[in-house]
C-alpha cells in the first residue's frame, strides 16, 4: 500500500464517518436527557429527500441544509408529542417514525428521482490544503465535514462544562429530582429531541447533497441504525463518538480497498470489519469503566410524568 493510497483511504474514511457523526451526536444529546429515539433512519431519509429537493429547487445547497434540519425537527416533534406528551412507548414510537419516514420520503421524493445537483464542493484552505498527505486527508473536505467536527467540539463543551450540560444530565439521570429543583423536564426533553431531529436531518442531507448527490429511495441504507449503535458503544461520550464514527468509516473503506488489492478473504468477513472494529475499540476505550457497565443515562426510555413520584 503506497502513501497515495493511504492518503485516499484516510480521506474517504473521514467522509464516510461524517454522516454517522452528525446523527450520533444528535442522538447522544437526546439520550442523555433520557429519550431513546429509534426514528433516526426515518428522520435521516426525510432530511435527505427534503434537503435534496430544496437544493434542487433553489439551486443553493445551503437551503438544502436548512430544509433538512427543519424537516428533521418537524419529524422529531411528532415523535416528541407522542412520547413526551402522551407518554407513548419510546421504542415502538421510534420504530414507527422510521417506517413513516422511509415511506413518506419515497413518496414525496418520486418527482426528483433521476435528477442531480452540484452539491457541496470541497473548500480550499490556503497553505493547509497544500500540505503533503495531511493536506489531502484533513484539509480538502467539504464544509460539512468541518461543521461536524466543530459541532462535536461545541457539544462536548456544552455537555461537560456548562450549566446546560448539567441540566441535561440531571434530566436524564433522575427526572423527578430535576423536576423537584425546578427544571422543566419535558421542555428540556423536547429541545433535546428537536436537536436530535435537526442533526439527523443534517446527516441525511450529507448523504443526498455531498456523498451521492442525488435522491433515490432508502439511500441511507441503514446508517441511522449504525449511528444508534455507535452512541451505545461510545457510552454516551462525545469524544468516543467522534473516534467511533471515523473508525467505522475507516473500517468500511478498508473492506473495499483490501478486495481491490486482491486479498482473497471472504467479503462477508470483510463486511463485518466496521462493526467488529467499532465494538473492539469501544471495549478497549471503556475498559477502565467496565464496572460502571454501559454508563447509560438512568431514565433512558422511561416516560416522565411529573404527577407521579419516582
Amino acid at each position: 500500500m503506497d502513501i497515495d493510497l493511504i492518503t485516499q483511504v484516510l480521506f474517504a474514511a473521514i467522509k464516510t464517518g461524517t454522516p454517522l457523526l452528525f446523527i450520533a451526536l444528535g442522538e447522544a444529546i437526546c439520550e442523555k436527557t433520557g429519550v431513546l429515539n429509534l426514528g433516526q433512519e426515518g428522520m435521516m431519509l426525510m432530511g435527505a429527500v427534503v434537503g435534496f429537493m430544496a437544493a434542487y429547487g433553489t439551486g443553493n445547497a445551503g437551503f438544502g441544509l436548512l430544509g433538512a434540519m427543519l424537516i428533521g425537527m418537524v419529524m422529531s416533534l411528532i415523535f416528541g408529542f407522542l412520547v413526551l406528551h402522551l407518554g407513548a412507548n419510546q421504542v415502538a414510537t421510534g420504530l414507527a417514525l422510521t417506517i413513516f419516514g422511509t415511506g413518506l420520503s419515497a413518496f414525496i421524493g418520486s418527482s426528483v428521482v433521476g435528477q442531480t445537483i452540484a452539491g457541496f464542493q470541497p473548500v480550499y484552505i490556503p497553505v493547509l490544503s497544500d500540505l503533503p498527505v495531511v493536506g489531502k486527508v484533513l484539509f480538502s473536505h467539504d464544509l460539512l465535514v468541518y461543521l461536524a467536527i466543530v459541532l462535536a467540539v461545541v457539544i462536548a463543551w456544552v455537555a461537560n462544562k456548562t450549566r446546560v450540560g448539567l441540566t441535561i444530565k440531571a434530566v436524564g439521570e433522575n427526572p423527578h429530582a430535576a423536576n423537584a429543583i425546578g427544571i422543566k423536564v419535558l421542555r428540556v426533553r423536547y429541545l433535546a429531541v428537536m436537536f436530535g431531529g435537526a442533526m439527523a436531518g443534517l446527516g441525511g442531507a450529507y448523504m443526498s447533497l455531498v456523498y451521492t448527490p442525488m435522491w433515490v429511495e432508502n439511500m441511507t441504507a441503514g446508517r441511522g441504525w449504525i449511528a444508534l449503535a455507535l452512541v451505545v458503544f461510545a457510552s454516551w461520550r462525545i469524544g468516543n463518538i467522534v473516534l467511533g464514527a471515523y473508525l467505522f468509516g475507516l473500517a468500511s473503506i478498508m473492506h473495499l480497498v483490501l478486495q481491490g488489492m486482491g486479498w482473497s478473504i471472504s467479503p462477508n468477513l470483510l463486511a463485518m470489519l466496521p462493526y467488529v472494529a467499532t465494538i473492539v475499540v469501544m471495549v478497549i476505550i471503556s475498559a477502565d469503566k467496565f464496572k460502571e457497565k454501559l454508563l447509560a443515562p438512568r431514565s433512558l426510555g422511561k416516560p416522565f410524568d411529573p404527577r407521579q413520584m419516582a
Partner: protein
C-alpha cells in the same frame, strides 16, 4: 423493513379484497428486492409491470411489494400474495428462489415465476436475462477506453450470474486490449448507494479508470463523473447521472416476457420453463450510447452488439480456461443455458479468487 413489508402487504390485501367484488380480473403479483425508485433493477421490473397493465387493460389487476428482504421475510410476502388471490406471481431476485419454491408447493393452483434462479416445479418457472451479452459489449468498450489498462467491477454477491458476467466482461476487454487487468470489489448488497460510491472510489484510488457494476444504483456513475473517469450504467438508462462519464447503459426490458407468460397462464397453455432473453428478444438493449465516445469505440460497440444479437457470436464459446489453468469450456463447445447458470470459475487472467 420487516414491518414495512408487512404493512405494505396488509395494505395490498385490503386493496385487493375491495376490488375483487366488482369483476374478477386476472391477478398478477410482483415481489421486488429494492425500491421501485431505484432507477435500476426493480425500477425496470416495475416498468414491465406497468406495460403489462397497459397491454391487458381491465382484464388484469397487478400489485407489487417492494423492498422485500431476501430470506424468511420473502416467504411471508409471497404467501400473502398467493393467499390474496393472485393467479400469477413474479418474484424478481435470486434470493427469492427457495421461498418461492416453498410457497409454490403450498399453492399448486397459483403460477409462480422466479427471475434469475434455477429451481423449478410443476407450477414454477424461471426466467432470466442474458446479462452476459450486455456485459460482453461493456467489456469491449471498457477495454478500449481504459488508459491505465485497469478496469473495475463492483460486484454484489458471488453468485453464478455475477461471476459469469465478470468473466464475460473480462474476456471482452481482453479481446480488444491484451494488457488489461480487472479489479473486483464485492459490496454484499444489491442496493446501497453509499457503499457503491465507496467501492467506486476505492477502485479509482487504485488506478481503475472504467467502472462496471453489478449493483443497482447509479451511485458509481456519479462517482466516476466527479473524478473524470468512465462508467457503464446498469439495468436502466442511467445517463442523466453522468453526462460525460456514461458510456452506455445496458437496459433491461421485461415487458415482452411478462405479457407472454400472463397470456399463457390466462389461456391455460402455460408450461413452466427456463426462459432466457437477451439482445435477440429485445429484452436487453444498449441505451443512450454517449456521443463523446471515439469513433472506433462506437463502431466496435455496434459491431459486437450486432454479432451477439444475430447469434453469430456467443461469449462463452470454447476453448476457455479458468484462472487455475483447467479447461472449462472445450474447443467447439458453447455453454448451454443450464451450464451458464452454474458458472463458478474465473477465466484465465483474473487474479482474484472467488469468495466462498
Amino acid at each position: 423493513m420487516k414491518l414495512k413489508s408487512l404493512l405494505v402487504g396488509l395494505g395490498l390485501l385490503a386493496g385487493v379484497g375491495a376490488a375483487q367484488a366488482a369483476d374478477d380480473p386476472f391477478k398478477v403479483g410482483f415481489v421486488y428486492v429494492g425500491p421501485v425508485g431505484d432507477l435500476g433493477w426493480s425500477y425496470e421490473h416495475d416498468r414491465g409491470r406497468q406495460e403489462l397493465e397497459k397491454y391487458f387493460g381491465d382484464k388484469i389487476e397487478t400489485t407489487y411489494v417492494e423492498n422485500v428482504p431476501e430470506g424468511a421475510d420473502a416467504e411471508r410476502v409471497i404467501t400473502q400474495l398467493a393467499k390474496s388471490g393472485n393467479d400469477l406471481i413474479f418474484s424478481t431476485s435470486f434470493g427469492f428462489m427457495n421461498p418461492t419454491l416453498k410457497v409454490a408447493k403450498r399453492f399448486p393452483k397459483v403460477t409462480f415465476e422466479h427471475a434469475t434462479g434455477y429451481k423449478r416445479s410443476k407450477n414454477m418457472g424461471t426466467y432470466v436475462l442474458r446479462t452476459y451479452e450486455g456485459r460482453y459489449v461493456s467489456g469491449v468498450a471498457a477495454g478500449m477506453l481504459t488508459e491505465t489498462n485497469t478496469i473495475g467491477y463492483i460486484g454484489s454477491f458471488p453468485i453464478p450470474e455475477v461471476i459469469r458476467d465478470i468473466n464475460s466482461s473480462f474476456m471482452a476487454a481482453k479481446s480488444v486490449n491484451p494488457d488489461v487487468t480487472m479489479k473486483i470489489v464485492w459490496v454484499n448488497s444489491w442496493y446501497d448507494p453509499g457503499k457503491e460510491t465507496d467501492a467506486a472510489n476505492a477502485l479509482m484510488d487504485q488506478g481503475v479508470d472504467v467502472l462496471l457494476q453489478h449493483t443497482d444504483s447509479p451511485a458509481p456513475l456519479i462517482a466516476a463523473e466527479k473524478r473524470g473517469k468512465r462508467a457503464i450504467g446498469q439495468a436502466s438508462d442511467q445517463s442523466s447521472f453522468a453526462p460525460t462519464a456514461h458510456v452506455f447503459s445496458v437496459r433491461d426490458d421485461w415487458a415482452p416476457y411478462y405479457i407472454k407468460v400472463t397470456q399463457a397462464v390466462m389461456d391455460g397453455t402455460y408450461e413452466p420453463s427456463d426462459f432466457w432473453g437477451g439482445f435477440h428478444e429485445d429484452m436487453l438493449s444498449l441505451a443512450s450510447i454517449n456521443d463523446n465516445l471515439p469513433a472506433d469505440v462506437r463502431a466496435k460497440i455496434d459491431e459486437t452488439y450486432a454479432k451477439i444479437k444475430s447469434g453469430e457470436f456467443h461469449p462463452f464459446t470454447g476453448p476457455i480456461k479458468d484462472n487455475k489453468g483447467n479447461i472449462v469450456v472445450a474447443e467447439g463447445h458453447t455453454l448451454t443455458d443450464t451450464e451458464l447458470a452454474q458458472v463458478n470459475w474465473y477465466v484465465e487472467g483474473i487474479t482474484d479468487e472467488i469468495p466462498r
